[in-house]
Symmetry: C2
Subunit: 126 residues, 2 copies
DNA sequence: CTTTCATATAAAAATTTTTATATATTTTCT
DNA sequence: AGAAAATATATAAAAATTTTTATATGAAAG
């Protein structure tokens, strides 16, 4: 009973639904979610912990980063995940998506070295 | 988004899951649920109101009684209702079921007139 | 020594439970 | 039949509990 309750509780929060909606398109690290939702990092981590404990997301550590993705390993959760995600009105997360796109764009592009602002040395990121 | 959240919130409580599980087998009035769950009536009414507002149950008034049943009118709710109900471990509601059976049995059976206890006049109830 | 993330904790907000009260309807009594 | 009592349910207010948010701190990686 408790496991079932934890699953429904995990879905019962707007921030967590926004996170799940973003994860629909693939794995994201905590910093991506912070940028997309414009919320402080401990808040994102708190909600990710609840999703993780309900086994709705899985995490993968890689260097400094922790990447989160939807847990598709069992039918019940998969059904809930996709039927919920599908019912989140696009309007309510359009901005999240926009900020995510922008942030990911910057990450894979080039950025100006902080320490050499004047001479503007460019370097590849990731 | 809010509607979706209200649905998941409605499922996120043990008392409400117990109620839904009992309603699986058909319509019940508030007093049936009070007897089955052994909880005070305002508590049951409170949780029924939440289920009603999430459109997971429908009510029907008949004399003194209000009968509640699962709302099977839309697909999404029906899917959630039955997949959740199915996942409630039987052990966790066996007693509820037993008390419900007992209570329903007494209701449709015979009862001893209060005023004529000695001469034990029996009469049909309902 | 900075970035990324998790965890601990305290304050704030939301939910649940309890207690009390109100309303409607049926039953009982005269 | 009509008044009084009992029953079924809902709702409101108060108290208790849980959840969420904000802030601080710490660990690991590079």
């Amino acid at each position: 009973m408790e496991e079932l309750l934890n699953i429904f509780k995990a879905f019962s929060d707007e921030t967590r639904l926004r996170i799940l909606k973003l994860l629909e398109h693939g794995e994201l690290c905590v910093c991506d979610l912070v940028a997309a939702l414009e919320l402080v990092q401990p808040k994102i981590s708190f909600h990710l912990a609840i999703l993780r404990e309900a086994d709705l997301v899985k995490d993968r550590k890689e260097g400094k980063w922790t990447h989160y993705r939807l847990n598709e390993s069992d039918m019940f959760r998969r059904m809930l995940l996709y039927s919920a995600i599908e019912r989140i009105p696009v309007g309510s997360i359009a901005q999240d998506m926009a900020r995510l796109e922008k942030f990911l764009g910057q990450k894979t592009g080039v950025k100006i070295e902080k320490t050499t602002k004047k001479s503007a040395v460019l370097r590849e990121v990731r």
